[in-house]
Symmetry: none
Subunit: 204 residues, 4 copies
């Protein structure tokens, strides 16, 4: 078995266990059992419990970034880009539900117990939105009076809260695609230059 195999096995097991129990309630032995390795083996690949979480953050968000950027690079219209980002972010709930749960819960508290840790990957992810917004402003599609830090966060927060609730509720009266479309619509209508973006999207 290659080294990377066990590393990956442990990360994926950690995602499973952490999504179920949360970081503090999860035991190293839970993760080890899930990964079918001995407790001590974990420490051959990670320095400590925190290190598993941090590595998980970096690697998994890294993959997401690569993927989203690929999708967006194929597109030129910033309005389409935002729609793609929204759809992809929400689709994570279905495709990688456990990872999504971990990111939503643990990312928020990670600065409480890992004082020194700056989650640069996460910032990079959210900054994809900034980039899109900036491009839209340059192209005179989005309003110039947008405060960049605000709109970025508002858009991301809208998506994230929606996905948070999606996970909590077992049943949903709408599909992920509808949710993504609606949120994109609201934002595009809200941030678009008057008279410019009315033609793009049709509310589902």
């Amino acid at each position: 078995m290659r080294t990377s195999d066990k590393h990956q096995k442990i990360i994926q097991s950690a995602i499973k266990v952490l999504s179920r129990k949360g970081f503090f309630n999860a035991r190293i032995s839970d993760i080890a059992k899930e990964a079918q390795v001995a407790d001590g083996t974990i420490y051959l690949y990670f320095n400590n419990k925190y290190d598993i979480l941090i590595t998980l953050f970096e690697e998994e968000i890294g993959k997401i970034i690569v993927h989203v950027k690929q999708l967006i690079d194929d597109e030129n219209d910033p309005r389409k880009m935002l729609e793609i980002f929204a759809l992809h972010h929400l689709k994570l709930m279905e495709e990688k539900r456990e990872l999504a749960e971990v990111l939503q819960v643990e990312l928020r508290q990670s600065n409480k117990f890992m004082k020194e840790y700056r989650n640069t990957k996460f910032i990079e992810y959210v900054d994809i939105v900034s980039g899109i917004l900036h491009k839209g402003q340059e192209m005179e599609i989005f309003r110039k009076d947008l405060l960049p830090g605000i709109a970025k966060r508002a858009f991301f927060g809208a998506l994230d809260e929606t996905s948070r609730l999606w996970i909590l509720s077992p049943k949903h009266p709408y599909t992920i695609e509808e949710a993504a479309k609606q949120i994109s619509n609201i934002f595009l209508a809200g941030i678009g230059k008057p008279g410019v973006n009315k033609t793009l999207s049709k509310a589902s």
Copy 2:
């Protein structure tokens, strides 16, 4: 010292300590020291560590709800109501920064480790937004094709993510009032009936 005084003292101390360390890293003895009581005294007022957190949630969110509802009741225009909600929610960051931190971080993980706990107060708070949206739709001010569960969450999420970042960053290139105004604007433009809400708000 009256009984209620110690209860309050402990809750307020818990807010301070939890905002700094998070629930799992906070020790009962930390809270006791902050409240200037003995460890055992905590257990005269609360059943266990979780009970402190739950009581904190219920009581503090309860106060916020009462306050926001009062502000909103003085208003008739749903668009104004949303602006008020937004401003008030963000102002919590300044006025009760520590409480805000606790709510943002611990509320998100509370259903991981307190399986049986349903945070009804929190739902009630977010449902204030639903109420406003619904009223706006009835008054034909907001679009009828809004998915109620989505727009509510999107608006709340936008605010919450903004306040989350506000707390994390030491410096801000805009004021809270500007941020509230901008988010309200984006949403009102996004959810308003075409041709109806363009007159209300002027982006700051």
Copy 3:
């Protein structure tokens, strides 16, 4: 309310609580609640938790001793005396069941946790049997070769173990009187001078 009233009330409450929970599982507050006094009031009458138990031992065994001695003093035949002692000891199970439970359980472990305590009252009680045996030997009714320390303990132990089981089992195929009679019979037959005691008792 006279002082002695509360003292008595506490002792009797302690008997109830200790019989149910045992010394270490019983809480001072349990006893206080049962006695309908405040926790602190206990300490006006007793030095500490151990003191309650010791006082309980001394006073209640003292009462039993007085009572048994009265009964025995009316009698001259040592064989009858033993029967009286046996019957009375077992009858305690019915009449003061809770006290009996406390004595059986706590007396046995009291020297484990109260190193300095010598239970003189208890010794005095058991020595009633010695007295009877000695008298029987003097009167040439009981065998001279009895080891005094042994027979006393054997007789008392037989009774005590019988009463212990009586308490544990909810149902019994014999009456207390039958049990007392049988044990007396066995002992009297066993310790009597051959040819002397065969006429006294009829096995029930």
Copy 4:
């Protein structure tokens, strides 16, 4: 060190510590120190403090039962059997004094604080006596009018109380063998059919 070694080491250490301090005053750390293991190691072998006591009961009484049954199986005369049981029971005081102390004290209170625990091994041990008595009755050596539950308890109680006192007193005016002989004698004389058992035993 083999697994079973630590299990045994802990049980034996528990016997030492419990005999000295009693269950409630004994600390897990006392037992761990005595066993020369870390506190946490105890919990690799036992579920909790109670589990140590229960396991101790079951295993040690189990050994005693096996041993006594072997001794008795070599014998046919129920009178001899009783003598063997008496002698062996009392000899435990010398050979396994600490175990004897634990059994005498903790067994009596175990049903107070371990509500669900039925000490079947202990019942099995005492029932060895029942078996002997029954056999003696069948062989027409013991009186038919013996109440089976009574005589068994009386005999066992006589022995146990004797051994209890043996442990408490530092000095003894008689040997264990004499004590066993005397108690057997008393009982055999008391329960034997008139005219049958007079020939067996000579009082020491």
